[in-house]
């Protein structure tokens, strides 16, 4: 006799995770290599500022919004922060996740307790729903948004929701919910290289280029 929930969990942890890992790692590498090989032409203009330094600096400074921006786009900016920070706390500081990363990479670090993980998860989900709402309601974002953008946002929320449900045994068989949780992560990994989720890697390049272009001129970035 089999436990179908366990079988699903083992499928999600086993072959599907392997497949997802393959698609994720290979896909991200393809995308990154593809960008980098395009290169850029040597700039013959005499630099006034320090392009390389400013490029690196901009990777970090661009994390903060310009003054006044929050007032104009509160949901997008505050929601964006809460979603990202909440997502990464839940992802990187929950010990079972650290155990996963340790298994894959050998790297490990201390985690935090359930109160922090679960409040981060809840806040991230609320923020994600708010982002979904503003995408749907705000004319600018509505016009920019493709079905893939909606899909990606929903897929990013699923691991948070299923993880919360599984750990707290809100409903469903906990093993089944755990399987759904890992399944949702597998799916997220599979769609990752094909969608705007790639920004998680390429934002650093984009910010670097922006900073170095402006830095060469001695302009702010």
């Amino acid at each position: 006799m089999n436990n179908p929930n366990f079988d699903l969990l083992m499928f999600a942890r086993g072959p599907l995770f392997d497949f997802a890992l393959l698609v994720f790692v290979a896909g991200v590498l393809i995308r990154v290599v593809e960008i980098l090989v395009l290169g850029r032409k040597k700039d013959f203009s005499k630099a006034k500022g320090k392009p390389v330094q400013q490029g690196i600096k901009t990777i970090f400074t661009r994390t903060l919004p310009r003054p006044g921006a929050i007032k104009a786009n509160p949901i997008t900016i505050v929601g964006g922060y809460v979603f990202h920070i909440g997502f990464f706390i839940a992802f990187l500081l929950f010990v079972p996740h650290i155990a996963l990363i340790e298994e894959l990479t050998g790297l490990s670090w201390p985690g935090v307790g359930r109160v922090i993980i679960e409040s981060s998860t809840v806040l991230a989900v609320i923020a994600g729903l708010a982002l979904l709402y503003t995408r749907w309601r705000d004319p600018v974002r509505r016009k920019l948004t493709t079905w893939v953008d909606y899909l990606v946002l929903v897929l990013s929320l699923l691991p948070l929701i299923t993880g919360y449900v599984a750990v707290n045994k809100l409903f469903g068989d906990p093993t089944f919910m755990m399987a759904l949780h890992i399944l949702s992560v597998d799916i997220l990994m599979i769609v990752f290289p094909f969608t705007k989720l790639m920004h998680a890697f390429t934002f650093a390049m984009a910010r670097y280029y922006n900073g170095s272009i402006q830095g060469r001129k001695g302009a702010e970035s």
Binding site: R13, L21, A26, L29, I30, A99, L104
Partner: protein, 365 residues
Amino acid sequence: MPSSPLLPKLMKAHGVSRRSFLKYCASLTSLMALPPAMAPRVAYALETAPRPSVIWLSFQECTGCTEAITRSSAPSLEELIFDAISLDYHHTLQAASGAAAEHAREAAMKEHWGKYLVIVDGSIPLDEPGYSAIAGISNLDMLKETAEGAAAIVSVGTCAAYGGLPQANPNPTGAGAVSDIIKDKPIINVPGCPPIPMVMTAVLAHYLTFGIPDLDELGRPKAFFAESIHDRCYRRPFYDKGLFAEGFDDEGARAGWCLYKLGCKGPTTKSVCATVKWNDGTSFPIEAGHGCLGCTEPDFWDNGGFYKPLSAPAGNYRRVGQAAVIAGVAAGAGGAYLARKGKADALANHETVDAFTLEKEEKES
């Protein structure tokens, strides 16, 4: 075979007072998740129920289940429950052997046709029935034959319930569970490697008093298999606080922190180990410093390794990861070649523009 109640007599023989018998009934009642008011009824039923005939079949097993249920440091009430049944066949316990033993089984079956209870421990080889046989009868034949006249079957231990260790990869005997073979009889699964003795006897007590208990989708009595070990584990507060042992002899382990990272399967394992415990409520594996192996769940031998955290991937991820890097770099190089070629072609195809060729032809005319 006597069919009149024996228990009161036996209690007297073993020096068990009525007071401790009633206490036992109360704890059985609570264990079976029945309202406390039912305790007298349990006691009454146990005292008055006729002793059913029980045929215990042992197939591909290690005798651990039998050991667990019979081994007690002192005569216990669990043992008495055993005495409340008429164990007519158990090839480990009975004195008779060979053909004589089989005659006992056949006789019991004949006498109690349709009413006897079959308890099975061990799995049944299906690839080649000859892998395991008793007195020249294959396990498969014996199970089918014996089950035919049974009132119900109790699969004791994970091997009988789900296939267990014999079924673990690569399953050389094609081992199957009782429920894989018998489809037309009520089957109660009491998994565990071994099951908690108290749970085994409680299930028997329930069968004797109220019949077949409420079962979950895996055929387990809900009273004992509804909650996960993790939910009732005394180390759970450490999990919630994010405090985890990293090794079996580190600070965390000594301080009694959560064993999740050491591979504990408590979160996905349903059993009452953490509350009922073992050896008369002395301890249970996690309390002894070892993570739960998940032995009450199907395929627990193959569920990703005993010492691997539940959240860790269970597949061939290392080789897959390496393959992914190679594939990514190779495909990336291919894509890079195409992209660079595209750009080079575009630059080669560049037509120099001047102020007088900024317009389309139709605009010129």
